[in-house]
């Protein structure tokens, strides 16, 4: 060592200790390796060359999904067979022949197999699924002639089925094979390349609960994959996923679906005093059964290319201007702030003018002097433009909109909920680079312009008013139950997400005003059910001044007054302007309320109302 050990730097003794530590650890590792490779090497050689434990996966049954009655499942599993090929087990050069033979047996094109197993993956040691839902007879045929099909095998595979498919497609969602991108994200959380994953709705939201744990059957094989010893099969039983019980009542779900019919739109039915969703329907819908297994790709692309967007859950994933339904909020705000009493009147002429923004009354002659109860019952635009702009003002109006849950997600336990939008002066400056003007406030006050809400948010607005200012988080999951025993593992408790301190007098008057809508007001002609008193509000939004297209809203609750809050329900119906105009939202709600409170199916409801001569519109 010609260099001098520098005194300023590293203490020499420590460098020596460190170096010795390095050397000692190296020698220790080498000693271990010596015993592994040289002393016991032959043991491992035998293990690696002659005997391998090969395991086959036994898939876990995905948990079933029930409605609140917990009797017949909404989503369950059917057994089916899948045929798989392990390309590495086919001798080189024989792939084409085996593929052709297998395709023949399964009644598909050899090209279909080639597409799933391209030549570049002929050496991949992995079972690749060729076809699912293979009939049992075909499997028997394959088993009898298995020597002609090297590398081909079959597996039982539970297939997800939805008996009540289209009524609750958006709610339940659908499942599909995990994609490589999804696997990258979910790796280490119990997922693998074979996982079947919930892709939307409840299936996606609670996927981990539904998954269960795969089992395995392990057998000992030699290096060529042949079995060694018949009895040596070890079975690790799979653990089924948890069963889910939803808050949804499938009779109400079917009733709502039938009441909406073939109209683009959505329906939400919820219990205001717990936030339980009793029904959630969106149209157009899809058949989740077609989205898994053979032909799923075609069905999927067909649905995805449908311009009516069938995958969209319009109850929570799209937002619209609330139109006149927002007048409920203005009524509440004006009464709560004591800007007006129920006895005060305002002159509602044919027009409301603010600068060059003119709001026309829908009745050309105007209403004259009316109080707030009459204004809501008749849905006076001029009255509420005056209340919104002249009485409440921008700031108070927008803050009430926010407090009632507009512009943010409600937090329902379904994926993809949209927040809607409460426009603010700051927002407008950012997006349009133009200042907020009085006309913008007027637009919000009559539910047009930038303000947009989801049907669920409107239902929540009503829930707050019905429930004395308390809003529960809307939720779909009621209970989690054990997949084996059916024992309740977890029960979802109602959770308060917003408490507005509104005066009892305000609440009472607002409800009275909404009752006036169906008794003497705009909705009277169509709310014909005699079994329950309904209070609510209609809404009609013009989406363009050129075409004659209108969104139709109706949001209501019933019974109007009750001693038992448990029986109250809120119904929000939204029928898109894409449909032919028939003012359907209140009509559908009428059928739904009648069906719920008379405990009838859709057909029975229609028959019953016809018998009572109260169904003039159908």
């Amino acid at each position: 060592m010609s260099d001098s050990w520098n005194k300023n730097a590293i203490p020499r003794s420590r460098a020596i200790v460190f170096g010795s530590l390095v050397t000692m650890l190296f020698l220790g590792y080498l000693g271990h390796l010596f015993s592994l490779q040289v002393v016991d090497g032959y043991l491992y050689t035998v293990r690696s060359e002659n005997i391998k434990r090969r395991s086959a996966v036994i898939p876990a049954a995905r948990g079933e999904i029930f409605d609140r009655n917990y009797d017949v499942p909404l989503a369950t599993n059917a057994n089916s067979f899948a045929v798989e090929i392990n390309p590495a087990l086919i001798a080189r050069g024989e792939h084409d022949e085996i593929f052709a033979r297998t395709a023949d047996l399964l009644g598909i094109q050899a090209a279909d197999i080639q597409r799933r197993i391209p030549a570049s993956s002929y050496h991949v040691y992995q079972q690749i699924e060729i076809r699912s839902a293979v009939p049992f007879e075909t499997i028997v045929q394959l088993a009898e002639n298995i020597h002609d099909y090297p590398g081909v095998s079959w597996a039982t595979k539970p297939v997800r089925t939805y008996p009540d498919a289209e009524a609750s497609a958006h709610l339940l969602g659908y499942v599909g094979d995990i994609t490589p991108e999804e696997l990258q994200v979910l790796y280490n959380r119990g997922y693998n390349a074979r996982s079947v994953l919930g892709k939307s709705g409840i299936e996606q939201q609670y996927d981990l609960l539904l998954q269960g744990e795969e089992g395995r059957s392990i057998r000992t094989v030699d290096a060529r994959g042949r079995r060694v010893g018949e009895d040596d099969v070890e079975i690790l039983a799979p653990e089924p996923g948890h069963n889910l019980v939803l808050t949804v009542d499938r009779r109400i779900q079917r009733l709502a679906q039938a009441a909406l019919g073939d109209r683009i739109g959505s329906v939400v039915v919820l219990r205001p005093n717990s936030g339980e969703i009793l029904a959630m329907v969106s149209y157009p819908t899809f058949d989740p059964n077609q989205l898994y297994g053979n032909g799923a790709g075609r069905a999927f692309s067909q649905l995805r290319n449908d311009p009516r967007a069938p995958f969209l859950n319009r109850a929570i994933q799209s937002s619209y201007p609330p139109a006149s339904t927002i007048k409920i909020l203005l009524t509440t705000a004006a009464l709560e702030e004591e800007l007006i009493s129920v006895d005060d009147t305002i002159f509602a002429g044919p027009h409301y003018r603010l600068g060059n923004r003119i709001v026309n009354e829908w009745r050309p002659s105007g209403f004259g002097r009316i109080n707030i109860l009459q204004a809501l019952a008749n849905s006076s635009n001029v009255f509420f433009a005056t209340i919104g702009h002249d009485y409440l003002g921008t700031e108070r109006l927008l803050s009430y909109a926010s407090e009632f849950g507009f512009g943010i997600q409600s937090g329902i336990d379904l994926p993809g909920e949209r927040p809607g939008l409460v426009p603010t002066p700051e927002w407008k400056r950012r997006v349009f680079n133009s200042p907020w003007v009085g006309g913008d406030t007027v637009n919000v006050a009559i539910g047009q312009g930038f303000l947009s809400v989801t049907p669920l948010q409107l239902a929540n607005m009503l829930a707050i008013l019905v429930n004395d200012g308390v809003l529960y988080r809307p939720h779909v999951l009621k209970e989690v139950r054990d997949g084996h025993t059916g024992e309740v593992i977890e029960r979802v408790e109602p959770e308060i997400i917003q408490t507005l301190s509104l005066k009892p007098q305000t609440l009472q008057n607002v409800r009275r005003a909404m009752h006036g809508v169906t008794r003497g007001g705009t909705a009277e002609p169509v709310i014909t059910t005699p079994v329950v008193e309904i209070a609510g509000k209609t809404g009609t939004a013009e989406i363009s001044s050129e075409t004659d297209d209108w969104h139709s809203w109706f949001v209501a609750y019933g019974p109007y007054e009750t001693t038992d809050p448990d029986e109250q329900v809120v119904v929000a119906v939204m029928v898109d302007a894409a449909n032919e105009w028939e003012w359907w939202a209140p009509k559908a709600a009428n059928l739904i309320f009648h069906g719920i409170f008379a405990d009838m199916s859709f057909e029975e409801t229609v028959a019953d109302l016809r018998r009572r001569r109260r169904l003039w519109y159908m």
Partner: protein, 436 residues
Amino acid sequence: MRSRSIFGFDVYILTATLMLLTVGILFVYSSGLGISGDALSHEYVRQIIWAVTGLVILVSISLVQYASLKPWIPYAYLLGLVLIVMTLLFGRVVNGTRAWLGVGILGIQPSEFMKIATILAFAVYLERAGNSIKQIPYLAAGSLLFLFPMALILMQPDFGTASVFFPIFLGMCYMAGAKVRHLMFIGLTALLVLAFTMLPAWEYYIHGSRIPAFEIFSNVRVKLMVLAGLAAVALVALVGLMMLKRRSFYWTIYSIAILFLSLAASLGTRAVIRDYQIMRLIVFLNPYVDPRGAGWNVIQSVTAVGSGGIAGKGFLQGTQSHYHFLPEQSTDFIFSILAEEWGFAGTLLVFGLFLVILLRGLYIAGNAKDSFAGYMASGIVTMIFTHFIVNVGMAIGLMPVAGVPLFLVSYGGSSMWTALAGIGILMSIYQHRYRY
């Protein structure tokens, strides 16, 4: 002197580095082969590109006067932190870890480069601190330089990469003359935190039945009571120390403090450490707890290594690897393939080459012109050493699976450049070792 250097390079380290790079490329190629012998992946081509570009980096750094780097070090450190934060926000998720930053196939792992940046920053700190590193406040303040990147990397979550920072800290402090009992305190506390976090899982998976005493680790209320008890004993000992000035009281407080801190910290760690990480540690203790799941890697890897025998099965002849029984075989488990195909002989070669780099690195550290260079060199040596011990230990079942690459050999651009940049700094220190 002249005989050892070409243009002033340290020939030993350079030769060992080049040989390891070659071995690495050969086995990255081997790992990409399927059963029938066709190449399934072309990772080796990229590995060659990274090796060549990395060597350019090595040479460039070695020609630079390391002292001129000093003003840039704080910026490099901060840039590294910013990049890791960006990774957390916009990074790509690969294998459940958000550790990659980049577009398309071009991605970097900022956490790899952060190791070098942290070493350099801490070397600056140690030089400034001088002898004060013997005092606890200076030691604690310096540890912050490591805690920031570790915390951020744990959030990715990348337990393996984060854990490498810890030995580097201890190694650099040791070489800078910090008190051994302080370092032991830190080391023992960390070990006990891990142990206390693990024990409930150990009880469940390995021991099989409930042990009443383990309530201490699994029941938060009992844990808090034990903590209060420990604090009381420590207080008594502290009073004893002040009044009697007896050495034994010092060590009582010392051990109780370790117990107290690690027990308290284990309250929080269960929230940070993920279930699968616990499972990896459990299967390290006994892979047969979960032979089809998390234990699979360990069992397959040890089988591959053991079946290599003395001379190995021959290059490209490994069966375990070509049946793709090993996951991540070009990165985490490259050593298993090497040990399978080249046997104990190949193992000896790789160990020898790494030993040359490490011991030569220590020699360079000791002969450095100034303490700053000595600390840098110590940090780099510790980094390479830690990677080696963790990666090889993992392949032979002596360490838990942690996803730490074997420097210079494993597939991967970021770790390759990190290693070669580190060796470049060693070279620069060697070339500029004389005072003029």
